[in-house]
């Protein structure tokens, strides 16, 4: 018996269409699999876009296209939208049953999107949204803010190690509002943008960022540096900040 071709599809949880298409897909000999975070998107990924996040429609296809072009260049990306547009990697949801076989046959691999963009599906452009999250509104990038906080804190480790008698001044310096202001920028931007990231391909990265932000938050928001926790600022906060910065920089690679 020939192996069935696996088609992974991604849609928002309120979208009934993918399930409605399951019989058709079975009839066509496809293994019709809902994409779960952590799954490999290959060999074919269908994205039903825009997606509804409970507040608004988000066009996620651009971010996915760049991601696949970089990490899964051989994968076929097929955007399923609600418009009558001709493109090798796009199919109108109303025509999917008639045209899908031809599209699947002809759709180029995702490497195409290293230099091109898929058909825009009309929701909030998550590519732009990601850019704003990472780069800010003409201000400092998230990674740069993170680096700035790290730069402001990390010499304290040397100061404490080489001049332990300065411990009180080190504590006072950590508690300087200018250090926390930077944290505030980082935290508020995360809080504002995080709800939009649910259907993007970087689930594991976002999840790790979420955990790191949760771990770091109490250090900056709930208590001041003190004799009791001073070591933790350097043994916990600094490595977490470094990891956070590297994750943010990794995201920047997909959103240029």
């Amino acid at each position: 018996m020939p192996e069935k071709k696996v088609l992974r599809w991604l849609a928002d949880s309120e979208n009934q269409i993918p399930e409605a298409l399951r019989p058709w897909a079975a009839q066509q000999g496809f293994e019709w699999v809902a994409f779960q975070s952590g799954d490999t998107p290959a060999p074919v990924l269908l994205i039903f876009s825009p997606v509804w996040n409970g507040q608004q429609y988000l066009s996620i296809e651009g971010v996915w296209a760049k991601y696949l072009a970089k990490d899964y260049p051989d994968t076929q990306l097929i955007v399923v939208g609600n418009q009558d547009t001709q493109d090798t990697n796009f199919v109108d949801v109303l025509q999917i049953q008639e045209r899908f076989a031809a599209i699947l046959e002809a759709a180029p691999a995702a490497i195409r999107f290293a230099t091109a963009m898929p058909v825009f599906t009309g929701g909030m452009d998550m590519g732009e949204r990601m850019k704003r999250f990472l780069k800010g509104h003409g201000n400092e990038s998230m990674a740069a803010i993170c680096q700035e906080i790290y730069f402001n804190l990390s010499p304290g480790r040397d100061a404490l190690k080489n001049q332990p008698h300065l411990v009180q001044r080190i504590i006072e310096a950590i508690n300087d509002p200018s250090v926390k202001n930077n944290w505030g920028t980082l935290a508020s931007r995360w809080i504002n943008y995080q709800p939009f990231f649910g259907y993007l391909p970087f689930y594991t990265i976002f999840e790790e960022i979420r955990l790191l932000m949760e771990c770091l938050r109490p250090w900056f928001e709930d208590s001041d540096a003190s004799m009791e926790n001073i070591e933790g600022w350097f043994s916990v906060v600094l490595p977490d900040l470094k990891r956070l910065e590297s994750l943010l920089k990794k995201l920047e690679e997909y959103v240029q």
Partner: protein
Amino acid sequence: MSNSRYNALYIDDEAPARKLLLLAFSEQFDFDLAQTVEQMDLYLDSGKRFDLVLLDLELEKGSGDLIGLRLIRPILAKRPGLPVVVITKDEDASTLKTAQDAGAAAFLLKSKYDLAEWTETFEKAIKTGILNQIQDKLQRLATLGSAFVGEVAPIIEIKKTLEAVSKSPTTPLLIMGETGTGKEVAAKYLHSKSARRIKPLIPVNLSSIPAAQLEIKLFGAVKGASSEALREVEGVFREANGGILLLDEIGDINQDIQIKLLRFLEDRKIRPVGSDRDIQLDIQIIAATHRNLPELVRQGLFREDLHQRLKAVTITLPPLRERKEDIPRLFQYYFGGYGVKEYFSPEVWQQLSEYNWPGNVRELRNTVQAMWLQQLIQEKHIIDVACLPEEIRHYDPTRAYLQSGADIDLLHLPRLHALALLNMQYIEGAMRVKNKVKHDVAEMLGFKSADSLLYDIKTCFRDFPELFEMEDTFPTIKAGYPQIFK
């Protein structure tokens, strides 16, 4: 590099957030913080010594403009040679190049912060900066004019006199003073104030010209007048016509020249060698000497009448040791106006202030040069005692005073020296009266025994040896206790 601390100016609008960075480097550095360009200018315009500038390129965060890049040149214009280390998060190669082209000494990335590596970078930059700064200072010193620096009362009086004489352009002036006190500088001061300043001031060191050539050098000669004048010689008098002629070391000229000079002072005429015609000239004469002219007159070596003509207005430049308040001003002048004490360790300043400067201002100027060279050779970021010339480093003002041959004034001595001197004079007197019989001396002065007396003298010799180095001091004690002094 030496172990003393460095002064660094940290320019960053987010300086308060960098407190930990400053603490990490606080073992070696004292920081001043400038958060704005205005504050930066204030620090750079102050006299404060800086060994290093740390410049954050991202001044005015969020502007997206690397303002710091535009500050490097102005900083170096204000403080040539001062190392500017830029700190940035911008990893762009073009930023690095722009900073280097502007003269940045080093380029550090915030993401690569490492205490040891940054310390090494700072020290290297400071070392190179000192080299550049000293080269710059030496160059400046070589081309520095000779301002008449001094604000003590005698110098102010002298300046007033010079200004008065400058308004009387035919009055001769006699400048007395030890070697190096600035006789030529005083002459230049007068020249600068005089209506004659548009004409030359010609200084001639009379002692440096062989006697046989002096007449021709001064008054000129017609062609073929002598083997020294194969062609016509103009002579410095004619060169100085309309201006001022400084005749330095006037005490060293022979009687023949003295007569010719006297003649000029009387009728303003000279006659070149071999000529039969007088030439009328308009020159103001300044004569200078470090010698005691009245004494030379008494010895018959200098003409009384010439002395009388020259001394109508006489100034005596005080030796530097008699105007020590001016020493900081002179250093300030040679250092180019910066807060000079900041460039010295405190001990150096003490030594420089106590030294008696036998070579006067000239010696001070040479000392500045020597100290900078030693600073360079020894790779010191400030001038410490090891950079001082030996005679200053080992100068002991008390010993110098005691050996000066002057009558000892106890008030010129440190208290313990004065007490020891009195004590030894007391014992010396008793030794003389008791004809060096030690028991008798001890009894007379109330010592428990002769051993106690011996111990007292030994202790004094150990603690104040300079008291015994004076010629003819305590001859009876020395004769009575030769074992101590051998």
